[in-house]
């Protein structure tokens, strides 16, 4: 392999690696700054109460946990914020206890201005495998643009990493030739 080809391989590797690192840095920054989580828990998909499901995961029928209802801007503990379908979710919320579930009263029930949580987790099944089903992610809607944005990010990262790897092999003189599919 000529020095010229190695040079172009080095350029290809540096350029695409730089772009890949930028994309990875963006994802990490988006995660650590809370923007990714903010986009995920965007708005309510059902009428009910916004809660932080992590705060009451220890609740049992014998030792239920009580959530105080109020119009909090941020959920920091055992609190529940009333929300309607389509409304933006408060910070710190990671799930909705729907009005329907409260009316059923099997896992949670409404008592005066408080929510009593008795069964925070149930075992369910998907594709033949059991998993823990909690109130986390329930009744929430992600930012409608996040789907397109995330896919664009994944595909762009795929292209960058793909070409970066190609540049890497070119740089070390391992430029792969086209396979001869036909003939002997």
């Amino acid at each position: 392999m000529s020095a010229e080809q190695r040079k172009s391989g080095a350029f290809k590797f540096i350029f695409w690696t730089f772009l890949a690192v930028l994309l990875l840095f963006y994802a990490w920054h988006s995660y650590s700054s809370g923007q990714m989580i903010n986009w995920y828990y965007w708005e309510a998909a059902a009428d009910g109460y916004a809660v932080n499901a992590n705060t009451f995961k220890e609740a049992t029928k014998e030792k239920p946990v009580i959530l105080e209802i109020g119009p909090h801007a941020e959920i920091t503990g055992l609190q529940a914020v009333p929300v309607k379908k389509g409304e933006r979710l408060p910070i710190g919320c990671n799930g909705i206890i729907s009005k329907k579930e409260l009316e059923e009263g099997k896992r949670v029930k409404l008592e005066d201005d408080r929510i009593v949580v008795m069964v925070p987790m149930q075992v369910k099944e998907a594709k033949g495998f059991k998993y823990k089903d909690t109130y986390k992610h329930k009744g929430i809607k992600t930012n409608p643009w996040s789907g397109a944005w995330n896919v664009a990010w994944v595909l762009a990262l795929g292209v960058c990493l793909g070409y970066s790897a190609e540049g890497f092999t070119d740089l070390f003189g391992l430029k792969l030739k086209k396979i001869e599919h036909y003939g002997h």
Binding site: L24, A27, W28, S30, Y31, M36, I37, Y40, A53, N54, N94, K124, E125, A126, K127, G128, F129, K130, Y131, K132, D133, T134, K136, H137, I140, K141, T142, P144, S146, G147, A148, N150, V151, W153, V154, L155, L157, G158, V159, L161, G162, Y163, A165, E166, T169, L176, K177, K178, I179, E180, H181, Y182, G183, H184
Partner: protein, 355 residues
């Protein structure tokens, strides 16, 4: 331990990198997304079922792009064939999803899905295994007669029938050296897409055999072209999953980092082998997945009484990833030894190429 805030799971991130790596090797080599292996693995790591499907589908889209870039460099992609198939695949996926919703309404989705998986994979395994063994024997016979086999040897006569269907428009696929009715390509896309949509997977394990045995592409081109297809359909699936809140992007990021290395190895490994070697690995992956699905089916049919069945289904599915990786790595090691004139098992020369 890494705290995946969106998924609400604490899990070692290296497990995700390792899973991405192993499935990357298998996917880059046989042209599948590997959803049937990754989803159970993620559930074992503690991710909820719906999250496991979403993360899997999104990582498959990224991984397929990485592998597609490499297969393009090696000339394994027929763009005309791939793009002609995309429309049919998307239509098929939509049909499959609707079929699944209909089954869900009837309350038979779980059992129907597993039964369908078992039947399809078992039939594909049997046909692929028989055909590949015949091709393997043909290469060995030719070698005894002093004839060196080419990169691809296939003994199936089915593609000739489909290529002779005179329905216009007829398309010319230059890389795959095929002249075939556009309708056959679209129909294959619809059928494989329907199965993929219904089973909730990328569909590579059905599409690669269909590209080889129905359309008549060489195995290498089928693998590369299928990965292009998976990148498109996987991208659409990933978008839908993200909108439904089934994706933790940080988990996807760790898996793609692992897949980057694995997909490179898997893709480059195809240049060391003949078509039948890829088909062997594909058929073994099919039978192993069939056994895993069978165990889950029996578990469900027995009223989920025997937890041991579910446990073995998980162990089997995870073991499959490592077994296939080991097989692919062994093939490459033997191919390199064969190139350097060192001793290799008797069955190796027919499956690998010398230069």
């Amino acid at each position: 331990m890494f705290d995946f805030a969106i998924a609400g799971v604490q899990s070692p991130f290296m497990l995700l990198v390792l899973t991405g790596f192993t499935v990357g090797i298998v996917g880059g080599f046989i042209g599948v997304g590997g959803g049937y292996m990754v989803t159970p693995a993620l559930i074992v790591f503690g991710f909820p079922g719906y999250m496991a499907s979403g993360i899997d589908m999104t990582h498959i889209a990224g991984k397929s792009v990485i592998a597609t870039v490499r297969h393009r460099q090696m000339g394994n992609i027929d763009w005309v064939l791939g793009l002609a198939m995309v429309g049919g695949t998307m239509l098929g996926v939509e049909l499959g999803v609707r079929l699944l919703n209909w089954a869900k309404k009837l309350g038979i989705a779980g059992i129907l899905l597993l039964t369908c998986s078992v039947v399809v994979m078992l039939c594909l395994f049997i046909y692929t295994q028989i055909e590949t063994q015949k091709a393997h024997k043909k290469i060995e016979k030719d070698a005894e007669a002093g004839i060196t086999a080419g990169r691809e040897v296939m003994v199936s006569g089915i593609p000739r029938f489909f290529q002779s269907i005179p329905l216009y428009p007829i398309v010319r696929c230059r890389t795959a050296r095929l002249v075939i009715s556009m309708w056959v390509i679209v129909l294959v896309g619809i059928c494989t897409g329907t199965l993929a949509g219904f089973l909730g997977v990328g569909g590579g394990f059905v599409r690669v055999p269909a590209l080889v045995y129905v359309i008549g592409a060489t195995t290498h081109i089928a693998v590369g072209t299928d990965l292009l297809e998976i990148a498109v359909s996987g991208g659409y699936g990933a978008m839908r999953h993200t909108q439904m809140g089934n994706v933790d992007m940080i988990a996807v990021m760790f898996m793609i980092v692992g897949a980057m290395v694995g997909a490179q190895f898997g893709s480059i490994a195809t240049s060391f082998v003949r078509g039948p070697a890829i088909r062997y690995i594909l058929s073994y992956s099919l039978i192993l997945a069939t056994v895993g699905a069978c165990l889950r089916l029996v578990y469900m049919l027995t009223g989920q009484k025997y937890e041991v069945l579910s446990f073995f289904a998980v162990v089997f599915t995870l073991g499959e990833m490592f077994f296939l990786c080991f097989f692919i790595v062994s093939l490459v090691v033997f191919a390199v030894r064969y190139r350097h004139g060192k001793s290799v098992p008797a069955w190796i020369p027919a499956l690998v190429v010398k230069d």
